[in-house]
């Protein structure tokens, strides 16, 4: 389980390694090291991507092709994307790298006692609080063997050259040489339910509540907006549940027969059943507090609970909407502490 130039196990990496392991990988490492339950895994560092791209660039230019694209020229971008993605997908990994990844994968499967992994892109620009383009890269769930894993790693790399990703970079004039992609390989959580949570209120910005959204099955249905999740608002400190909206969760994302994910209909009697118990909500709240304390700022977290009821975090990143707003203090310390009562007695017009 030793880390190397191209492999970084979660236990060995943190946010400080973002340039090498990407935002998602750094965050998962950070959580693991903070003692938060995260499915075990490793990161295929950007060095592997660089090595792979070097070989590819030698055959024909890649980055120069993207750099010369005109922002907004969708036709040119689409054509270029199609060509580059096909090239990435078709190329073999350098033999040494492929061997190292396969060994790491075997080691992970042994440790987890299961063969299934998730392969998730972890861009170096992704998940930073100043440039949230989360979701532009791909995630592959229920990848069942080493060969498929390698294939999905290339697919993640290729997603860096999707039409959306290229457009995003061209629009913002992000230099192509600065762009690299790490890939997370992580044990799959057989999610009974999954979703997201914010360590503040998305509607009022209140930092004293935790907002939790979740639905049956894998979190992809919630993140992708394919199902209206159950929603709870809890006092971060008190645990009081002030909002309890149980939705009609008509579909859930489940493992597909041959690997991957499929959307299946939820049986009538489960649709309106809360996907989390109050005890699980309480546990999520505690995790939210720990993660927030660890980072020192409000967090946007992805979670899953497996069939045994065990909670795992899949992602945590700084909340970006409210933290960028500077709210004035509710009140300031006064020279005469009694003067505060004038806010009540002095008239409120």
């Amino acid at each position: 389980m030793a880390s190397s130039g191209i492999i970084g196990w979660f236990e060995a990496i943190g946010l400080g390694d973002r340039a090498a392991v990407g935002g998602k990988g750094g965050s998962l490492g950070e959580l693991t090291r903070a003692g938060i339950a995260v499915p075990p895994g490793f990161v295929v560092k950007t060095a592997a991507f660089e090595e792979f791209m070097l070989a590819l660039e030698q055959a024909a230019p890649v980055r120069a092709r993207v750099a010369e694209l005109e922002a907004g020229d969708l036709a040119a971008i689409s054509a270029c994307s199609k060509e580059l993605r096909a090239r990435i997908q078709a190329a073999e990994l350098p033999a040494a790298a492929a061997a190292e990844l396969t060994a790491a994968h075997a080691s992970l499967c042994e440790r987890a006692g299961a063969r299934e992994v998730a392969v998730r892109s972890s861009a170096t620009t992704e998940d930073a609080s100043d440039a949230s383009f989360a979701g532009l890269q791909d995630t592959y769930l229920w990848v069942t063997d080493a060969a498929s894993m390698l294939d999905r790693v290339r697919a993640c790399w290729a997603s860096l050259y999707s039409v959306e990703s290229i457009s995003y970079r061209r629009d913002r004039n992000i230099a192509e040489d600065d762009v690299a992609m790490a890939v997370v390989v992580q044990s799959m959580v057989d999610a009974r339910a999954a979703g997201v949570m914010f360590t503040r209120s998305p509607t009022t910005g209140d930092v004293s509540v935790v907002t939790i959204e979740g639905a049956w099955g894998l979190g992809s249905a919630v993140v992708g907006g394919e199902v209206t999740p159950d929603r709870w608002v809890m006092g971060k400190i008190t645990g009081e549940i002030s909002v309890r909206e149980i939705s009609d969760k008509h579909i859930e994302h489940r493992r597909a027969g041959g690997g991957g994910v499929e959307a299946v209909e939820v049986a009538e009697d489960r649709r309106r059943t809360p996907c989390l118990s109050d005890a699980e909500l309480g546990e999520l709240r505690q995790i939210a507090r720990r993660v927030e304390r660890h980072y020192g700022c409000a967090q946007d977290i992805e979670w899953a609970v497996d069939s045994r009821g065990e909670l795992r975090l899949l992602q945590s990143r700084p909340e970006t909407v409210w933290s960028s707003r500077d709210a004035p203090p509710a009140a300031r310390a006064a020279a005469d502490p009694l003067s505060h009562v004038m806010s009540i007695f002095g008239g409120r017009r």
Binding site: V207, V209, T238, S242, R244, P337, H340, V341, I344, F345
Partner: protein
């Protein structure tokens, strides 16, 4: 006066009619409590929080004495900048009240200067003044206890003659009555000496919390401030203590669910030394802690636990079961205190800056300073003193009944306090002249008329508010004491639009938790015995002295009350889901309907 638009107006006072056939009873109330034409231009609301049932002629003394003292404190003593006192009127037995705001900026500025000199002095010297208050209050209670028993001998006792007292017993009737009445008016001044200032300091912290943490629940703020050993918890703690003693003394078998208090006591008296020992324990609990009303103390029939032991005795069997199940009934005060400290520290940590934390510290410090009064005064004022007062009046009722004025003692409460004084003078006169008193010809018919009117008025719904809706409610007294805001008035207005069809009723989230069960709509204290385990209590106003039954019900819902109300505090203590201040639960929920109470959200749902 701007002309209010139709949609923004409640019925005007002049459009409300005295219920036909009750005109005589309505006319009995003093002239200054009757609506007049000029009242149409003002906003009034029905004070169902304090006076949820029609007020008998005598009981109006509570409104009178309380508003007299509240107004004095606000208008003249502390000089609240934006408000004077509260005006009150009575119609069909219902007490309507209206604030008396100050709007002229120059006058507000002038009053602000006065206020700071006065109120700030109180805040700065709170502990000393409150310690002094308790001494004054206990002295007042002692004075009331020491008033002579109301009686008229046939002949003046020989020892009075030999002592050369020179003043006959009939005179002492008047003196005792006037002292009784005077003491009651005085008590209400004590009651309001700190009240608005105390609530104001609490509300300052409350408003800060709502601004800093927009979604914080009212009950969380209340928990940060609430005291752990307030007098209000004590009566119920005594009931728990008695339950524990019953088990220790092995006399618990005498406490059979459904047995009346006198039956239990008789059975204990036959139960040898342990039974008698328990009865001694009961005695120590009774004085003073059972001087607590089964209501808010504002009605003569809100008898104290001492007058009627059925309430505390109703709680004992349940507590005995808990003791036998190995539960400790003592409130873990130290643990609760540690939890409160942690809660305060945790919220403090969430604040965004040291500057904000500084303000938080200043406000919560003041809130903690004032809170012992906010929580403690009720026991001394509304409970202990009020019991003494009504029981003293009862002695007059008994004497007058003996002389044929009334068919029974309780009829005395159908006279205003002015009328009662006239009846007493009538009796004094007849005792001295040796002629028959006139009262027996005069009062029985009036009493019958008024009793019939009260019954009729109780059957009628009354408008929650009257007159034009003000644009804003800027009266700290009304906002703090009654929780009335523009939003709540709009809700009342729309409730009158036939939107009652909804099965959802909203109120204040007073104590979190969700419970389902059959609704027991309890309109008066006498109906408490109808409550069965698992029922949901639906009432106009809950009272902390109902605590012993809180262990047996599943949840509580009230028409009136804020999350700061004592009932809310006690419900939280019990972990009993509660929604208060719904405005209309007792009229919209039918007895026996299945309902769901979500105390964390403040929502009651009618399920069938």
């Amino acid at each position: 006066m701007p002309i209010p638009t139709a949609s923004r107006e409640f019925p005007r006072p002049s459009s409300l009619k005295v219920v036909p056939g009750t005109e005589g009873a309505q006319a009995a109330y003093p002239y200054y409590m009757q609506f007049t034409a000029g009242d149409d231009s003002r906003f009034w609301f029905y004070n169902s929080m304090h006076f949820p049932e029609p007020m008998s002629a005598f009981d109006m003394v509570t409104a009178e004495a309380a508003y007299c003292a509240l107004g004095a404190a606000n208008t003249r003593v502390h000089c609240l900048p934006t408000t004077l006192g509260i005006d009150y009127r009575i119609l069909n037995g219902r007490v309507y009240i209206g604030g008396n705001g100050v709007t002229d900026p120059a006058e507000i500025a002038r009053r602000t200067e006065e206020f700071k000199q006065r109120a700030f002095y109180y805040y700065e010297n709170w502990e000393r003044l409150y310690a002094q208050w308790k001494v004054k209050m206990l002295a007042l209670i002692r004075e009331a206890q020491q008033l002579p028993k109301v009686s008229l001998p046939e002949f003046e006792p020989l020892e009075h003659v030999r002592a050369g007292r020179g003043i006959a017993s009939n005179h002492y009737l008047l003196e005792t009555y006037q002292k009784t009445l005077e003491g009651y008016f005085r008590m209400w001044h004590h009651h309001f000496e700190f009240l608005l200032l105390g609530y104001g300091a609490y509300m300052t912290f409350f408003a800060f919390c709502k601004k800093a943490f927009p979604e914080i629940s009212d009950q969380t703020v209340a928990r940060m401030v609430a005291g752990m050993d307030a007098e209000i918890f004590r009566p119920d703690e005594e009931v728990r203590r008695l339950a524990r003693r019953a088990v220790e003394l092995k006399v618990h078998a005498h406490f059979v669910e459904g047995r009346t208090a006198p039956e239990v006591i008789a059975s204990l008296e036959r139960g040898g030394d342990p039974g008698r020992e328990w009865l001694e324990e009961l005695k120590t609990s009774r004085d003073p802690w059972f001087n607590i009303n089964v209501g808010d103390g504002f009605y003569h029939y809100h008898r104290s636990w001492n007058d009627d032991l059925s309430m505390p005795f109703a709680g004992i069997p349940g507590y005995i079961k808990l003791v036998q199940a190995g539960e400790t009934l003592e409130r873990p005060v130290e643990k609760l205190q540690a939890e409160r400290r942690q809660l305060i520290a945790d919220y403090r940590e969430l604040l965004s800056s040291d500057e904000e934390r500084g303000a938080y510290d200043q406000m919560i410090t003041l809130a903690h300073r004032v809170f012992p009064y906010v929580e403690g005064h009720k026991f001394y004022c509304e409970h202990w003193y009020t019991n003494l007062f009504f029981n003293k009046i009862r002695e007059f009722g008994e004497l007058l009944a003996q002389h044929g004025f009334f068919a029974n003692t309780e009829d005395v409460f159908q006279l205003t306090h002015f009328e009662l004084e006239s009846a007493i003078v009538d009796l004094m006169t007849s005792w001295s002249t040796g002629s028959a008193p006139r009262g027996p010809q005069h009062w029985p018919a009036k009493v019958a008329e008024r009793r019939a009117a009260l019954k009729e008025w109780a059957r009628q719904d009354t408008a929650p508010a009257l007159g034009p809706v003000p644009d804003i409610i800027d009266d700290p007294a009304i906002v703090m004491l009654w929780g009335i805001t523009r939003e709540s008035l709009d809700a009342w207005l729309s409730a009158g639009d036939g939107s009652n069809a909804s099965t959802e009723i909203r109120g204040f989230a007073a104590s979190s938790g969700v419970a389902e069960g059959p609704a027991r709509v309890v309109r008066s204290v006498e109906e408490i015995s109808r409550l069965r385990p698992g029922d949901i209590l639906v009432c106009q106003v809950t009272n902390p002295t109902w605590a012993p039954i809180f262990q047996k019900i599943a949840a509580a819902v009230s028409d009136i009350g804020g999350s700061m109300s004592h009932a809310a505090i006690v419900a939280r203590e019990y972990g009993l889901p509660a929604v208060v201040g719904t405005g209309s639960a007792t009229s919209r929920i039918k007895d026996g309907q299945r309902i769901r109470v979500d105390g964390g959200r403040g929502v009651v749902t009618i399920l069938q």
